[in-house]
């Protein structure tokens, strides 16, 4: 038998680039599983906990549905209607297998999982358009993990994974001469798309589980930062901009309706994560766990598209060349979370789970946007496992909700990307981040664990 299936399924807490993840059993305990995880999502939470598995194959699907509402305010007293994203529930598959070798007392596992793959769309003419009109972010991990118990009670875990990242983001840039004060007027809009991909990068994680008996356990795990170097294209569509349509003060300035650069780069550093949890079992079939997690989001200070060389054909003798980096300042900060969860046997075949969580924001208040709708979050999880065939086939159900508490954004440092069509200079346009933002994430999932 090859081993057990595993999935590491995320319950994304936010849109855009801000991703985290837990599995379906973790979902039911609001992520409080670093010490107590007992399925293949241990590959993600704490690879040392794989030691609990024997021979298992796992297939899981989860769904994530996030609603973000942004009610933009403008210092020029422009009135905007609140805007919400359109995000159909997104199925996230994962699979894996684990195999325990009793001789050396170790478990090996192989998993493929996609932590989070959001696809969101907003109105192309909405007040948020300068930050995002749509985004598709796909990341995936595949690789082996091993848990080894050298002495009773102490288990060490290590995982290695190949990972990829693919981002396709649309936004509207403001294309007007830099000498003018930027505006919201749609005739200066230019739909711009950034499509980049890092197809292969190696990462790892490690964990430790100390479980001297049946009464309690301690688990810790660490994930290093992942430094993606994605490359791809930057495309701008000028077809509705006045400098192309000829409605500018000097008629048609742009000779071509579009311009593209097929060799731009985007560096993204996903944060290092440290997790620790303490588990107690006050009675047989009952677990309570308290976890803390620290995520070093401060490593990501901006998202910057580099290597830009975009030639904009003009009606004059000289074409404009955009060679400046396109930067989205983020000034992110480290985030802490506290998770309390547990499980209890409800019958011979049913295990119930529940949990609560609270998490600080990884995004500084002035940099929050629909791209990074983060803030103080609270949430809960519920779940259960039903052994359809005792000791053979277990079905996991999980669900939960997370709430981004409504926050008012003032003096936002979120700006339009403005491009001067005459000189090609890229600069910050007007501030477009003030307002009120709120979000609610619904999580649900189904897993199948087959013990061989």
């Amino acid at each position: 038998m090859i081993g057990n299936l595993l999935l590491f399924l995320s319950t994304a807490q936010a849109a855009g680039y801000y991703v985290t993840g837990v599995g379906i059993r973790g979902m039911g305990r609001a992520g409080a599983v670093v010490a107590g995880i007992d399925d293949l999502s241990a590959q993600y939470h704490n690879p040392a906990a794989l030691i609990r598995l024997d021979r298992q194959v796992t297939l899981q699907f989860a769904g994530v549905h996030q609603n973000v509402t942004f009610d933009r305010e403008d210092e020029a007293d422009l009135a905007f209607d609140p805007v919400s994203n359109s995000a159909p529930p997104m199925p996230i598959p994962a699979l894996g297998a684990a195999w325990h070798l009793p001789g050396p007392d170790l478990t090996v596992a192989l998993g493929l999982y996609t932590p989070y793959a959001p696809y969101y769309t907003y109105p192309e003419d909405g007040p948020q358009r300068f930050t995002m009109t749509d985004i598709s972010l796909l990341s995936a991990y595949a690789g082996p993990s091993v848990a080894w118990r050298p002495i009773d009670g102490l288990t060490l875990g290590l995982g290695v994974a190949a990972t990829m990242l693919q981002i396709d983001q649309g936004l509207v840039t403001h294309v007007a001469p830099a000498t003018f004060e930027a505006t919201d007027e749609p005739e200066y809009d230019v739909n711009t798309r950034i499509s980049v991909r890092d197809p292969f990068r190696i990462t790892w994680n490690a964990g430790l589980l100390y479980e001297p008996g049946d009464k309690w356990a301690v688990g810790v795990s660490v994930v290093p930062p992942i430094r993606y170097q994605a490359s791809g294209s930057l495309t701008s569509d000028f077809s509705n901009n006045v400098y192309y349509t000829g409605e500018s003060p000097f008629g048609q300035v742009l000779a071509s309706s579009s311009a593209s650069d097929d060799d731009v780069q985007l560096a993204i550093t996903m944060p290092a994560i440290f997790r620790a949890g303490v588990l107690v079992r006050p009675s047989e079939g009952t677990e309570l766990e308290v976890d803390v997690a620290w995520e070093r989001w401060s490593a990501m200070q901006s998202l910057t598209v580099t290597g830009v060389d975009l030639t904009i054909e003009t009606t004059s003798e000289e074409d404009a060349r955009v060679q400046d980096d396109v930067a989205f300042p983020l000034l992110m900060q480290d985030a802490w979370s506290l998770r309390i969860g547990g499980q209890k046997s409800l019958s011979d075949r049913v295990m119930g789970r529940a949990g609560l969580l609270g998490e600080t924001s990884g995004v500084s208040a002035q940099y929050r946007s629909v791209l990074m709708p983060d803030g103080l979050q609270v949430g809960y999880g519920l779940g259960l496992t039903w052994w359809a065939i005792p000791d053979k086939l277990a079905l996991d159900f999980g669900g939960g909700q997370r709430f981004l508490l409504p926050s008012t954004l003032n003096n936002a440092q979120v700006y339009q990307v403005q491009i001067d069509p005459l000189s090609g200079v890229v600069l910050p346009g007007k501030s477009v981040g003030d307002g009120e933002i709120s979000a609610m994430t619904n999580l649900f999932g189904l897993g199948l664990n087959w013990t061989l």
Binding site: A178, E317, D420
Partner: protein, 438 residues
């Protein structure tokens, strides 16, 4: 002010007796809400002027009348929607007779005018400049960026140059088109300062610029077509003078100085010579004409029509040391100083070049340049530059909707921006809107 004119007033009215000033009233123009007509009478023939300002300390004044009379009327340009104090002043010998101070409130600006934003300080001149884009409007702008005069042109043409007439009674501008083929229905327009009347001088194929000579003669750039040796139509330029009685005379043609078979250009999209800016030197009785496609500025003897020299480009008769200009627009020659708005000579941006110009030696040495750094500005059409006596330079980044006053170190002292969607044409500067020497 104006000692010689004070002396003139003294001689006219004698000494010892102060004139009586009466019937002083002010009327805000119905057509231009920033123009106030002040009328007054005196009991003897005098010349006077108006002092005015936001307080009874005044601070501004009109020009002294040139002809003595007992019935007087002057236009005063004031900021919109403002209560202004004013009084009549009649100089008498070393003394002055003044009327009682009064107040007048100007009207509000039309909503169509874009917002003008000023940053910095150190600028105290007035500008006559066309607004293009969202509106087509010749305007006069004060040192604080306030509108002092405006007029909307509804011809569906553009306006590139605005000048206050030499008699100070009206505003002149050209209604034309330089985008694509020149307009057949172009014309020069004269609007009374209070907006009460408008006269036109139809002149087909008008180009960017015109000047008014001290005697009231107007000289305009006009597109001219001639057949080439292969029968193909060649687009050149000519200068047309319109005398005060309306007589039109072609006083210069590009073919007078250049030969399209010899003086060829690489870019023919805009024709052959493509004249785009014009200045006049009263001292030399000569025109200076910018030819975009030649990247040249030509000095034309008004009396003979001869080209005395060609500055820049392949046909240059002036030896240039240093930076050269490409597809320039407006310029200014004052003595040995020659400043040029260089649209495309820089790398991806426009700039101003200053030359130490030695006409006798036929040399020009580039001694100074200025380009905007934050941000870089590229202006592919129009653009203007003026050097002040104090060494500062006014740069009009036309299509970029910005006007900078910079010092010799390149520091921006004063900046004027208009709203997105608007642009400036050529910029005519003066120390006083009443001087009559725009």
């Amino acid at each position: 002010m104006r000692t010689s004119k004070s002396l003139f007033a003294f001689l006219l009215i004698g000494c010892g007796k102060m004139p009586s000033i009466s019937d002083v009233d002010a009327t805000v123009s119905e057509q231009v809400s920033t123009v106030v007509t002040v009328n007054w009478t005196t009991d003897e023939a005098t010349v006077g002027y108006i002092e005015y300002g936001p307080t009874d300390a005044y601070g501004y004044q009109t020009a002294l009348e040139t002809d003595a009379s007992t019935s007087h009327s002057q236009f005063v340009l004031m900021p919109a929607d403002t209560t202004m104090h004013y009084r009549v002043v009649v100089p008498v010998d070393d003394d002055t007779a003044t009327s009682k101070g009064q107040e007048v409130t100007t009207g509000v600006l039309p909503a169509e005018l874009p917002t003008l934003t000023v940053t910095g300080e150190g600028h105290d001149d007035y500008m006559a400049v066309p607004l293009l884009g969202g509106v087509t409007a010749p305007v006069v702008i004060g040192p604080d960026g306030e509108y002092l005069w405006y007029h909307f042109d509804e011809r569906d043409l553009d306006v590139y140059r605005v000048r206050l007439s030499v008699d100070g009674e009206s505003v002149l501008y050209n209604a034309a088109s330089v985008s694509g083929d020149p307009a057949e229905n172009s014309e020069l327009v004269r609007v009374a300062l209070d907006g009460s009347s408008e006269e036109t001088i139809p002149l087909s194929l008008l180009a960017h610029d015109f000047v008014e000579l001290p005697d009231g003669t107007i000289t305009a750039m006009v597109v001219e077509y001639q057949d080439g040796v292969d029968g193909e139509e060649i687009r050149g330029d000519q200068l047309v003078e319109i005398s005060a009685d309306g007589t039109q005379s072609i006083i210069w043609s590009a073919w007078d100085c250049f030969d399209p078979e010899i003086d060829t250009v690489e870019e023919t999209e805009f024709g052959w010579t493509f004249a785009n800016a014009l200045d006049y030197s009263e001292d030399e009785d000569a025109y200076y004409l910018s030819l975009r496609n030649f990247s040249s500025i030509v000095k034309i003897n008004r009396g003979t029509g001869a080209c005395e020299w060609v500055f820049g480009g392949n046909s240059s008769t002036i030896e240039i040391d240093g930076n050269t200009f490409l597809h320039q627009h407006q310029f200014q020659k004052t003595g040995d100083t020659f400043v040029v708005f260089d649209n495309e000579g820089g790398v991806g941006e426009s700039r101003v070049l200053e030359y130490d110009f030695n006409e006798d030696a036929g040399t020009a040495e580039a001694v100074w340049s200025y380009d905007a750094d934050d941000p870089d500005i590229y202006v592919f059409v129009l653009g203007d530059v003026t050097r002040f006596d104090d060494g500062d330079t006014m740069v009009t980044w036309s299509i970029a909707g910005q006007i900078d006053r910079v010092d010799s170190s390149g520091e921006v002292l004063w900046k004027l921006n208009t709203d997105l969607g608007y642009a400036f044409g050529f910029n005519t500067l003066t120390a006083s809107p009443y001087a009559g020497d725009w």
